[in-house]
Every structure is written in C-alpha cells, then in structure tokens.
Symmetry: C2
C-alpha cells in the first residue's frame, strides 16, 4: 500500500458506507425467536456479498439454529490458507428508549456509525468482506482464504460447534483470523492474546404454586424474591469474592512479565470509571489492577432478574417465583463444567427448605491463551505497524469468544485476534457504534496482513 492510511480512509468511505448501512440495518438478533427471519436475511446478505466478490463455494448452511455462511478462494497454490471467522448475529437492542438513534437505522455522527452490531461484530465482519473483495477486484489474493461466518455467537454457537467438529477438512487452514475484539485505545493497533471463558445459566426459585396476598400471608409464606436475593447475595462474600467451593483453586496466576507489560499500557482508571463505566466508583480490589481484574481474574455477575409485580404502583403479593440470569467469567485454568457443578452445590446450600430451585440450560467455554510467536502473528504485527505507523500492543480481553478454543482443539491452527473496535463502542449496550476510520484502517490492515502472510 503506497497510499497513506488517512487518504485511503477518505477514499473508501463513500464507497463502503451504503454497503455497511445495508448490512447493519438487518435486525439479526439471534436470541429472539421473533427475529429468526431477520437472522436468515443477514446470512443471505453475507453470502450474496461473497458471491458477488468472486469467492467460490459460497453457501448458506442450515444448522439446528441459525445458518452458517461459508465460502473459499483457494487459487494460491503453495501459499498458506487463512480462515476468516466472524458473526453476523447481534445482541438484543433493549432498552430501546436509551438509544439516541434507532438501533437498526444506522446513523453517522461525529465520524462514528451508530447501530446494534456496528462493532460486535457486523462492522468487523464487513472489514474482511471488503478487504477480500478489494483484492479480488484488483486481480486476486496473495494467499488462500476461507470464510466461516456464523449467526449464533451471541447465543452459544451450537450450530458452528457441530459443523466445525464434523467438517475439519473443509476448514483446513494454517491460521485463523478473528476481528471481534477492541483496540486498546484509539490509534493503538492491538492484538489480543487471551480471552476469559464464561458460564451462563438461569436460576429460578419457587416457593409456592402461586403468589399469595402479602398482608394475609406475610410472616408465614416464604417469598421467592427475598430468597433469590439471599442466594445471590450468598454467592459472594463481603469482599466481593465468589463463594463457590473451589472457585479460585484452578485460577492460574497472571505471569509477572504480563502484569508488567499491562502496567506499562496507558490506562487511566478514573477516566475509565467516568467515561466508560459511568459508576460512582469501580469495584474495590486491593490486590489487582483494573486490567488484571478484567483480563485475568474471574467474576460473578447477574445479567437479569425478574419476579413478582413490576408494573406501575404497588401490588401486595408474596411472589411464588423469581428468576435470575447468572454468569461467571472464567480464566485459565478454570473448568466451566466444574464451575456449574460448584454453583449448583452452593445454591443447594444457600436455598432454605421453604423453596425449591430449578436450573435453566447452562452453557460455557473455557478461557483461552494464544501463541504470540507464530508466522501469522508476525504478519499481523507487520501489517498493523504499516497501517498505523506504530507497533501493536498485546493485550487480553475480558470477554469470551467460545469459538476460539474450539478452533484450537479441532483445527489445530493458531488464532490471531486482530480487532478494530474501541473501548467505548457500547457493545451489548444502547448506542453501540464503530469508528468509521477504524473500519477503513481495518480494511487496509487486512489487505496488508494477507500480503505479509504470503511466503
């Protein structure tokens, strides 16, 4: 690339914006059955784009859930093969009234595009689609490429898991590129070398067949909400540590060298608190820094709770049933199945004889640490240096990308997590956005990466 990044961005934007808006406009919310047809439509949009760009074997493959989109271009004999993974599904958009523009009417403001999925992950999938399309339009790719784009990343990814386990040959590759992570800071190219794992499940407390009057029965009838709150409170101690038996036993300490490199990153806890989290204070922890806690330490968070009456005014009931969505973020070497078992054991201890508990389906993934010394990693570092004019920083990420551990175990190829989002992109929250300059820089970087990867 001889054009400086800034000019390339300016040149590309007018061409790419209509395409990107068309993609983001599709409300492909994978967790909501009402959006099933929209999710299908997003898959077809990706497939049509790949087909139009000149990829071979483009297909929308049905799964037990939402479809996979696959395609390949294998006309560079003797060159490595890159598998490009991403997801076209998005999180629900609620609460809708907190959005400044509607989540599925992509809107450009201040150099950003605002829409559900702008950064997670449609905007980043689009970077790959456009980079490959551009190279093909200019004559061809320097290496072989496969695409594998799923529609269930936000709901556990059962479809892609079955497909990858059943079809490793169709996905044979030398390296895997995933862009579903943020840059550490604006203008700071970033490669993510580790991900936390996670466990998600749902706990329901039941105390009776039906709600009863809180005046007539109060003092005798157990209350499902009071009990659920007691159980949730009992899952952490006064210091905020998780009380599951053995929860911290398998936690691998963060290596001293990695702690030191993270400590050298430009990071302002007060700005992070005020600008990103917006809380009056961050969680206290005397032992670990913010980056250590979010990248290398395990957590417990309730993602949702409901029970009893939530309409206007009051309702004098003792609720018979209350539910909460519980989640844990895991680090190496915690085992998701062991955490689920420990959770159930601990809740059985905490639940009084006045109630019974029921468990929803649990899904989880182990944490991942990636190699930092592969040829693909060197190509990625060269591409980022060239595009951004500075070396990439190596970070971990607190989120989970369950597919990464599956790729490692089934395809035996190292992943490169090369992300172009920003820390304040509001992932999973209202007003999700992506910085447009990062999309154009991402396209430039991906073209450079494929070139550097060629032998």
């Amino acid at each position: 690339m001889t054009t400086p990044p800034r000019t390339a961005a300016a040149t590309d934007l007018a061409a790419i914006l209509p395409e990107l808006i068309e993609f983001l406009r599709i409300p492909s919310v994978s967790t909501l059955p009402a959006h099933k047809a929209d999710v299908q439509r997003a898959a077809e949009w990706v497939a049509a784009y790949l087909h139009r760009s000149g990829l071979d074997h483009v297909a929308v493959l049905p799964t037990t859930g939402h479809p996979l989109v696959v395609a390949d271009w294998l006309h560079a004999p003797g060159q490595p093969t890159v598998l490009i993974y991403g997801h076209y599904d998005v999180q629900p958009a609620d609460p809708l009234d907190a959005w400044h523009s509607p989540p599925f009417e992509p809107t450009v403001r201040d150099g950003n595009i605002y829409a559900r999925g702008a950064a997670d992950d449609k905007g980043q999938v689009y970077i790959h689609l456009r980079a490959v399309a551009g190279l093909l339009a200019a004559g061809g790719l320097p290496v072989n490429v496969r695409f594998l784009i799923e529609g269930e990343e936000e709901v556990g990814g059962a479809g892609i898991e079955a497909y990858v386990r059943a079809n490793p040959a169709a996905l044979a590759c030398d390296t895997i590129v995933i862009s579903d992570t943020p840059m550490f800071a604006p203008g700071t190219p970033t490669i993510t070398t580790g991900l936390r794992g996670a466990v998600f499940t749902e706990l329901t407390v039941q105390t009776g067949r039906q709600d009863v009057h809180s005046g007539l029965y109060g003092g005798a009838a157990p209350n499902a909400i009071n009990i659920l709150c007691g159980i949730i409170a009992g899952l952490t101690d006064a210091a905020g540590r998780v009380t599951l038996p053995g929860y911290y036993d398998a936690v691998r300490p963060i290596p001293a060298a990695e702690r030191a490199s993270w400590a050298a990153l430009p990071f302002d806890p007060e700005a992070y608190r005020a600008a990103e989290v917006g809380a009056p204070a961050l969680l206290p922890d005397s032992e670990y820094s913010i980056l250590e806690r979010t990248w290398g330490r395990p957590t417990f968070d309730v993602n949702g709770i409901e029970g009893g009456y939530s309409g206007a005014g009051s309702k004098a009931i003792i609720p018979a049933r209350a539910s909460a969505k519980l989640s844990f973020r895991l680090v190496p070497d915690q085992d998701p199945d062991a955490v689920i078992a420990a959770l159930k054991a601990r809740v059985a201890e905490l639940c009084p004889p006045t109630a019974t508990v029921q468990w929803g389906a649990a899904h989880g993934a182990a944490a991942v640490l990636l190699p930092t010394d592969s040829p693909a990693m060197q190509a990625a570092q060269a591409a980022l240096q060239e595009t951004f004019g500075r070396p990439a920083v190596l970070t971990r990420m607190g989120g989970s990308i369950p597919i990464v551990s599956l790729f490692q175990s089934e395809l035996h190829a190292p992943c490169i997590m090369l992300g172009f989002g920003l820390p304040d992109d509001n992932l999973h929250a209202p007003n999700e956005k992506m910085h447009l300059a990062n999309i154009t820089a991402g396209i430039t970087a991906m073209r450079a990466f494929l070139r550097h990867l060629a032998r």
Copy 2:
C-alpha cells in the same frame, strides 16, 4: 328472617348472579393508567345501582385519582346511622396465563364465582348494595344508611382520605361497616378486630449511565442487580428478623388472652401450608404461631423486582439499574413514617459506594385495633348467630385497610369488620373467587344486622 339460610341462598342466586357478573366484568384495575376509563365505569355502575335501589343523593365524586361513590338514606329518625364502606377497584390480574378462566369474564364453577375482585372487594360491596336494595324494595330501612365506596383502595386511597378529612359532617355516623375481610373458615362467621398496617415503596439502585458488557467490564464495573440483592438480603438477618434500626422497639406484645383465644381456633398449619400457601415449608419461627405471625407480628416482603435482561436466552451485560418494590406489614404501635425513615437509613448503610439509590413514593398506614364491646358489635354478633346458627369468632387480619384508621380518627365512630370471604379466595392472585353461598348469606346477615342495630 324466617327462611333458613340455605333456602334463602337458593332463592336469591338466580336473581343476583347477572348483576354480580355485570359488576365483576368491569376491569377496574386502579393501579394501571390504561384502565382509568374502566375504573370510572365501575364507579358509575355502583352509582346507578344505588340510584335504582332508591338511595338519595347518589353522586360520583371526582378526586385527584379515581372517583368516590356516595349516597344516603336518612329516613329513620331517632335511629342510628351506619356508614357502609367498600371499594370497587381491583388488583392487576397478571400473570394472566395462570388463570383457569379469564379474570374479567366471571365464571361459576363448583359453587364459586371466579373473577378478579370477586372477594376483594366487589363481591362484598355487592352484598351491601343488594341487602339495602332488598330492604328498600320491601318498604324501607330500619336505620339510617350512608354509602361511601372508593376506587383507590389498592393504590393508597389518596382521594378518599382527602374527602373524609374535608367532609366529616357529610359522613356523620354511629358506626361503620366494612366487608373486606375473610371468614376464619367456611361456615364460621367472623368479625375482625385488628388489622396490620403497611408501608410500600420502591427502591432503585443505579450503578452507571447504561449497561456495559459483562465480559469486557466484569470485575471492575459494579452490577446494579448484585448490589440490589445484597441490600435486600441485608434487610433481614439469618433468622429472618428485619434489621431496620428500632424496627421491633414499638411492637406491642399480643395480649395473653388474645393469644389463648387464637390458639383455640381450629387451625391446621400443615393444611394451611399445603392448601393455601403451597410452599415446601412455611417460614420458621420458634416463638410465634402462624396466626400470631400473620396477625400480630411485623414482616418484610419484596413484592416485585426487575433489572437487566429477562428475555429468552442470555445477554452478557452488567446492568446499570435494578428496582424492587419493598413492603413491610406493621403491628401496633409501629409508626409507618418511622419505618420508612429507618428503611432509608438502613439502605444507605447497606449500599456500597459503587452505586446510588433512588426512592419511589412511599405510602403507609398504621395498624388498627377495634373495640369489641360496642352496640354495633353486639348487633353484628346477633346477626351472624342468626344467619349462620353459631357465634362469630373474633380474629385479626394480616392485611391492611388504611381507611379504617382514618375513619377512627376523623369520624370518631367504631368500625365493624364483617367479612364473607374465605381464606382460599386467592386475593391479589390468579383465580380469585368468592363462594356464592357466602354472598347470599352475607346479604341475609346484613339485613339482620341493620334490623338488630335499630333501637
């Protein structure tokens, strides 16, 4: 009355059922703004009934909320005046899918009528309407009667409170009759001599401007649900005792004679647990019996909770906001305002610096104990003996009827709480019902009460 109750009931039912069904069909849910017109319609139905029956000065009086219905018949000079109070508003009907027949399509099954408001309180208001109409149709009333029927009992009763305070002369009376309480058991006529008070309010915990991704921010960002659950759990101790400062200081011990009379009532805790509450176990308490706990001891119950994501599947967020509807049942001599102040102080203690709390409007009423030796009480006991063939039992009730204390303080007349509901009527719950034989017996008893009250 020379007709035995059973025959009277059989005779009346065909005549009254169409009227009762028409009244119950109106979805007069006072807490939901969407039902405002329905609440008005229920008021107009009551007024039309009274007018048709021959009452004077029938009026639907606007308030700041839902209207009052008033009427009188003062043509018995030298005789006492009875004020008949009731409420035509009802609780919300949700969860709708738990009803075996729709809440506002009154349905007769097994000698009961099923509908929201069947027992609380439209069915019991109807007893009074019909008893007075019957006497008027037969020539006149033996005493003077005033009606005061409100539409805000389930939402705090601001309108009637203002009216009673401003118009004591228009409500001048010698006794007040209220039928909004249950019989102790089927076939057991019951007069309620005490009510618990209550405090209702709503607590919101806020930790940030908006939800953040639980992977990226987990371990650093505070979670509004985790914190709310911790606060709620902290409002009781391990034994279930309320931890508000001074909460038990003002509690008047239940007199030994009353404890003894309650202990003599036929009551089977195991049947109560299984048939009414439906829980695997009742709340434990080594010191107080079930009746003592529900009639004479204070409580804390959460009536509803919400926060984060409650749709299908999971959502990886740390919620920035969570709310719960909190309530306390109070006994003599606890002060509602003092309890609200203690609650706010305790929550301020329990809330960590990572969150802020906001309070919704609080409303409350003190507990009430009624005189048991008035002429009206003697008339009520005679009427019940005559109708049911056995003496009435004297009980208290765990619920609150805030208007009772207002009547005591503003109108200086004793209340008689003469209820015809049953303990398993599912008040405030799905499948609310009223036993039809209790409606007809109630009409008979009320006619007898007015006759016995005459000098």
